[in-house]
Symmetry: C2
Subunit: 498 residues, 2 copies
């Protein structure tokens, strides 16, 4: 059937979708969510999903409404003609059904599913069945390995003729906790290779990529990343600007509505990106505690063991540290506030938050031992020396400059102008600071979109406070957002003092 293209200027976000009129649909026995091949001349064919327009107003018979993704993939012009015909469903649907029925999937089946995800051939419903199937019927270690490799193979890869290639990952959930920006310069300054990719915030007040972006460019193409790392041993770039394991974002999108983390997918998603930068040695940080992403030690231990199993199947040497995630680490929360903490630590400034400094030294020390630069038990001391000597700071400035930025004095980082100081309502000892609530308040204040907004913590758990003493400061871009953040604090709380 020949139809006239109507470009809709609407994006689905991923899936290839066209809309056809009900009359045309009936002629061809096409039903909603059926698959169509859309052909421009003879050489262009894509599998897309049909949507049926019940009213003939916007999509009259003889026309086909095309979402942005279809327009782009075929290079369609408004008013041009395409032919359509029904096609069969993607093979991967049978495999998803199989997993939903509790069976194990083979390598080629997982490859097909991941390929169909990457090429937008599955709709939300179908992708959700896959995520749900993996959540309800846990994947075996073999299946998770296949999934990890498939996710990595479907994207670009950084290849470097070096050994070892170091990497780190934090499972997340702790406010602040910007260790990567301290660990990478220490490890690189010691002569180890560490091509670090980081993520932006999804639901937190800042990701490492957001914080690093407050100081330099983080959208670095793969070939520049390679050049930089070859020259100075390390970098800290935004993984999202690279095409590493592209299935991941699509999977995360359907996990979000219910907030589910299918463990096999969590593992595969993390490890696929490590495979994609050819990491050989990986340090994983699992913060555990009330308010963190992992709240109990039993789950942390299981995750630790799963990481070990998967890493070894992938040929990556790994070490997993279970750390204290019961409160925010560092004082600043929000891109600029966190960047300032990092600079103070690297400059050995008296205002450096010691908790973040100590944790970074521990992590860097472990990596120096893994990479063979320090004997077992001597890594932390070596990391400490590299930090105190200023070598880590020098390396950090090299990274900043190679990525296109310049050295910045932390005292020149201007924070958002509207400020509110939250004071303790009573005298006592701080017993708990809630990661989730503090993150929420910082986000409502504007972080990370307003990169100067966020929270600065003046006190941590265990500190004694008097009535009226400042617990933390909120920074916001305008009065409105500041008030929203104050309201959120009053509604949610986040400090337990008694």
């Amino acid at each position: 059937m020949k139809l006239k293209v109507k470009t809709l200027d609407i994006s689905t976000g991923a899936t290839l979708v066209v809309i056809i009129n009900k009359a045309d649909a009936e002629k061809m026995d096409i039903h909603p969510l059926d698959r169509l091949a859309v052909c421009k001349k003879k050489d262009c064919v894509e599998i897309v999903l049909a949507d049926i327009a019940s009213n003939s107003h916007s999509i009259p018979p003889g026309t086909i409404g095309c979402m942005d993704e279809v327009v782009q993939s075929l290079g369609l012009l408004n008013g041009s003609f395409v032919t359509i015909h029904p096609t069969s469903k993607p093979l991967s649907l049978d495999y998803i059904k199989k997993k939903l029925d509790g069976e194990r999937l083979k390598k080629k089946e997982i490859d097909q599913i991941v390929s169909d995800i990457v090429h937008n051939k599955l709709n939300d419903i179908e992708l959700t069945y896959f995520v749900s199937a993996c959540y309800s019927n846990n994947m075996t270690a073999e299946e998770t390995t296949y999934l990890t490799k498939a996710m990595s193979n479907q994207g670009d890869t950084l290849r470097m003729n070096r050994y070892p290639i170091m990497d780190k990952h934090c499972v997340g959930g702790v406010a602040g906790n910007r260790t990567t920006m301290i660990v990478v310069p220490i490890v690189a300054a010691a002569g180890l290779t560490i091509p670090k990719t980081s993520s932006r915030s999804i639901t937190s007040p800042a990701g490492t990529a957001d914080t690093m972006e407050a100081l330099t460019n983080v959208c670095i193409p793969l070939k520049d990343m390679r050049r930089i790392v070859s020259k100075i041993n390390g970098c800290i770039v935004w993984g999202g600007a690279l095409n590493l394991a592209p299935a991941d974002d699509k999977i995360i999108r359907v996990e979000k509505p219910l907030g589910i983390d299918a463990k096999s997918q969590l593992l595969a998603s993390i490890m696929a990106k490590k495979l994609s930068v050819s990491s050989t040695h990986l340090l994983i940080d699992i913060p555990v505690g009330r308010g963190a992403k992992v709240e109990n030690m039993r789950y942390a231990k299981r995750l630790q063991s799963d990481f070990h199993t998967l890493s070894s199947k992938l040929g990556i040497k790994s070490k997993v540290l279970i750390t204290d995630g019961s409160q925010p680490i560092g004082n600043g929360i929000g891109p600029l506030l966190e960047a300032r903490d990092v600079l103070w630590i690297l400059q050995n400034d008296y205002r450096a938050p010691l908790d973040l400094r100590d944790k970074s030294i521990t992590l860097a020390g472990a990596m120096l031992e893994m990479g063979g630069k320090a004997k077992i038990g001597h890594g932390a001391r070596m990391a400490h020396r590299i930090l105190e000597s200023g070598m880590a700071y020098q390396k950090f400035i090299q990274i900043i400059e190679e990525q296109g930025g310049r050295e910045i004095d932390p005292d020149e980082l201007l924070l958002a102008e509207k400020v509110y100081e939250v004071m303790s309502k009573k005298k006592g000892v701080i017993r708990h600071i809630d990661n989730r609530n503090i993150s929420k308040i910082a986000r409502i204040a504007g972080a990370p979109q307003d990169n100067k907004a966020g929270i600065y913590l003046h006190r941590h758990v265990g500190d004694k406070v008097k009535k009226g003493e400042v617990l933390f400061t909120i920074y916001a871009h305008n009065r409105n957002k500041l008030q929203f953040a104050i309201d959120a604090w009053e509604r949610l709380g986040g400090f337990v003092v008694n």
Copy 2:
């Protein structure tokens, strides 16, 4: 935030969706799939899902693109203004997560989920998690009972001051098999009340509603249905025209892509509609056989026992017959072709297909026994008498007329004009006729949209055929469709002769 409405003239099919510009979304920290309240003045609020337009072309900052469903539910005009603000997620998401984690749901939790489904508050992803959760973690008999009641309660109900109220249901999957149109007149002629609602075809060449519609009107409002049944004891109407258990269609929509039938939902979906017409006695037909919906006896037995359990919890007396579903029943396949078979049977015409006649008598007999009109063991004989005496035909004509039609001579039913006779390629005995392939060929020939199209079977399993003898005739509206159907026959096959 105040935004100018742009009506998009596009329907999502169900979910309430608006599209806002990326710049506006960032200002409010709104992410794709977040929930918004859209308010027209002060009194109108709906929970809708946000989609983010990445290009400012169609939805510039300050505007809000509204899908048909939102336009209708708020009565919006293009160019008018609405205010939006973020709202929390529906409560039911927590309950869906709970079921996904393998826990049991309480009555009020299931009520909430069904209510949110009916009011379009869940998106495809969320609804899929629910279906998937029920598929992977089977519901208990209690949960299924709650689900059934919730589905029924969310729709309209037919109340009649009568006892008993008879009903029948067939699990389906067998081509032809139009027993309802024979059973209902027999049962009603015997003085029992049977307010029968039927469905249209989804993936078959005809549903009972499609076939009945070849003879009379089937879109009957609830109050007319009540009047008709009060007067003549029975009716055969399209359930889809009534608002019975409206959650059902929405659930079926997300089951379709993977072809999954979550058993608890299948049961609840069937029984909810029976509750909605106040049925007290229900006969269920489970056809079993190669090519039918239920292919093995083990599953049929389990389904039988589940139907008994659920019926008794709902206070409905039920009887479940497991019947032979290994080949099409009756000769006609397609609305008019099946209607003609039905009329021939009711008129005791020599061309009546005996297999369909016998099965209808068996089912009607069982219902006469259940309803107390015949002693156990004597129902079929009584049904046979009612049929042969012409009383069933008289009752059927009453039904046709009360629903707005008139008596039609089956020989006046004009079939589609393009005809092709499929001949046996060899001599032998017919060993198998495949329901799925025959249905597929009839659909490609045009059924049920072209109600005169379909297939007429001249032979059934067990018949001896010579080479060149006609196995079946294909009827299509035009040459194109006929050729497509012939091609499908040659590709798929469907008769095994040897």
